[in-house]
C-alpha cells in the first residue's frame, strides 16, 4: 500500500502567556492509503493537535506533513482552505452542524466550494444521506435529530465531496453505546468497502478495536502501537 500521510519530525508548541506548551516533539508517522488508524492517549497528550495538523487546520512549529505527496505546511491560508475542501472530511465530537440548515443543507455545504450545479449538489447530498441511512430525515433540522443521527449527518457531510482523508475527533465521545456502534459501523464500512483512509481520535478502547491500527500518544511522542 502506498503511503498517504508522511509526517517527519513534527513539532508543535503553543504559547500560553509567557509559558511555552510543548505538545508534539519531533514526531514521525506514516499512514498508508486505506488505513483506519485510531489515536489514543491521555487527555492533553496532543491527539487533537496532531489531527488538526494533519487536516491543515493548524500549522506545525517545525517539521513537515506530506499528504499525497504535497507538503501542506507550505500552503498559504487560502490554498490550505481549498486543500481542505478538496482532500479532508472532518467529523467532530459535537457534530458541528449548522442549526439553521436542514440535514440536506448541512450535507450540501462542502459542495458549495465545488463547481457543481445546484441540482448536482442536491443529488450528491441525497446520496450521502442515503449512505448513512438518513434519507427520510433530509428535511429535518439538527435539533429535530438524535445525537447519533446528527453524527451520521456529520459523516455524510464529511464524505460528500469524496475526500482523500477522513479525520474524526472523538466521533462517538458524546454518544450512547448503541448510537456509537452505529457510527463506528459506518466508519468501518467506509474504510472496508470504499477504501477511505480514516484517522480517528478516541478514548474508548471499544471504538479503537474497530480500527486497523491503534497508536498511543503520550507526552508528545508516539509510544506504542497495537495492531
Amino acid at each position: 500500500m502506498s503511503t498517504l500521510v508522511r509526517i517527519h519530525e513534527l513539532t508543535k508548541n503553543f504559547q500560553r502567556g509567557s509559558e511555552l506548551v510543548q505538545v508534539l516533539q519531533r514526531l514521525d508517522l506514516e499512514i498508508p492509503q486505506g488505513d483506519f488508524l485510531a489515536l489514543m492517549g491521555p487527555s492533553g497528550s496532543g491527539k487533537s493537535t496532531l489531527l488538526n495538523l494533519i487536516g491543515g487546520l493548524d500549522r506545525p512549529t517545525s517539521g513537515s506533513i506530506e499528504v499525497a505527496g504535497h507538503d501542506i505546511s507550505k500552503l498559504n491560508d487560502t490554498a490550505l482552505g481549498r486543500w481542505r475542501a478538496d482532500n479532508v472530511g472532518f467529523v467532530f465530537q459535537m457534530y458541528n452542524l449548522l442549526p439553521a440548515l436542514t440535514a440536506q443543507g448541512n450535507v450540501e455545504l462542502p459542495l458549495l466550494l465545488t463547481s457543481l450545479s445546484a441540482s448536482e449538489r442536491r443529488q450528491r447530498a441525497a446520496a450521502a444521506l442515503q449512505l448513512v441511512g438518513l434519507s427520510e430525515r433530509a428535511q429535518h433540522k439538527p435539533r429535530e435529530l438524535s445525537g447519533g443521527q446528527e453524527q451520521r449527518v456529520g459523516i455524510a457531510r464529511a464524505i460528500v465531496s469524496d475526500p482523500t482523508l477522513l479525520l474524526c475527533d472523538e466521533p462517538t465521545g458524546d454518544l450512547d453505546r448503541k448510537s456509537g456502534d452505529e457510527v463506528l459501523d459506518l466508519l468501518q464500512a467506509l474504510n472496508d468497502q470504499q477504501g477511505k483512509t480514516i484517522i480517528m481520535v478516541t478514548h474508548d478502547p471499544r471504538a479503537a478495536e474497530r480500527a486497523r491500527r491503534v497508536l498511543h500518544l503520550e507526552k508528545g511522542q508516539l509510544v506504542r502501537e497495537s495492531v
Binding site: 491560508d77 481542505r84 458549495l112
Partner: protein, 396 residues
Amino acid sequence: MSNGLSQIITITASNLRSVSERKAASIVAVAGIAGVVAILVGVLSMREGFRATLDQAGAKDVAIVLRSGSAAELSSGLTLDQTRIISGASSIVQKNGVPAASPELYVIVDVPMRSTGTEANVPLRGVGAQATRVRSKFKLIQGRMFTPGRFEVMVGRGAASQFAGLEVGKSVRWGTTDWDVVGMFEDGGSVSESEIWTDATVLQGAYRRGSSFQSVRVQLGSPSAIKSFKDELSVDPRLNVRVLSEYEYFSEQSKSLSTLINAVGYTVALLMGLGAIFGALNTMYSAVSARTREIATLRALGFGAWPVVSSVVTESMLLGLLGGVIGCLIAYLGFNGIRASTLNFASFSQITFAFAVTPALLAKGLLYALALSFIGGIMPGIRAARLPITSGLREL
C-alpha cells in the same frame, strides 16, 4: 472561488435564521440606529424647512436698499429724501407712473408665544401702499388691510399661528399704544408671514422716528437689472447705500442660523451615531461569538474569510436598513410639516417655518444607517475571520 455568491447567501441565510435567537440584542441595535436616523433626519428637516422659507422669501428681482454698512434692516436708516431719490431710479418697474418702491420701517415688539407663553421678538413693519407691489405673493386671507393713519395692524399667517393674541378683531398693547388687529395675510410662505404690518407713518409717530425709514424695497424688471440699479445709486453723491437682492439679503441673514442648525444637527447625529455604532458592534460581536464554532466549522470545511466577513456585514446592514427605515418613518410622521419658529440672530426676530422631510433627507438617513451598520459589522466580521480555526472549534 466558484459559487462565491451562493456561499455568501447560504451563510447569510443561516445567520439570519438564527437572528430570532438573538432577538434582544438585535432589537437594541435596530432601535439605536432608528433613533439616530430619526434625529438626524429631524434636525436636517428643520434646516431644510428653514432654508425653504428663506428661499421663498428671497426674490432675485427685488432689491433691498439699506444704509451703507448695515447688515440688516434693524441697524439701517434712511431719510425721507434718500428714499425719494432711491425710488426715482430708472431700473425700478413703473406702473401708472408710480415706481414699485416701498420705503419701510422696522421695529421689534414683544409678543407671547402660544406654546410657552414667554415673550419673543416679532418684527413690526411699517409699510406704505407700495409694500404689496414688491411682494408678488402677498394675499389678504382674513379681515382687511389696515387703514392709513390709524393704530391698526395686520398679521402674517405664521406670526398669527405662533404667537398669542394676534387674532383678527383683538387688540394688543405695545409700549403705550393699543393696536387693533384688523387682518391676516400670507405671502407664499416667506419670512414676511412671520411679521406684523402697520402704516409706516403711524409707526414713525409711535416710535418717534420722525420721517425716517430703514429700507427701501424695489421691484426690478429682471434679476439682471440689479447691477444697473446698484450702479445708478452708487454714483449719486447724495446717497451712501448698500444694495442687494432680497435673495442675497436673506441668505446672508440666515447664514449664521443655517450654520448653527447644521453644526448642531451633525454634532448630535455624530454623537448618537457613535452610540449606535457601539450598539451595532455589540450586537454583531455577540452574534459572532454565539456563532464562533459555526464559523470555525465553515472555515474548517474550506470556506474562505470573505464569505464569513460578508455574511456578518450583510446581517448587520440588514438590521441597519431596518433601523433606518423605522427611523425615517418616525422622522416623517413626527416632524414633517410641523411648524416652528426660531430666532433669526441677524434680525433678532422670529421666523416661522415648517420642517420639511424631503426624499433626499430620507435617502441621507438610510445611507447613514447603512454606514453605521457597516462599521458595526465589519469589525466583528474581520475578527471572526481571523480567529484561529482550532480555537473556534473548541468554543462551546
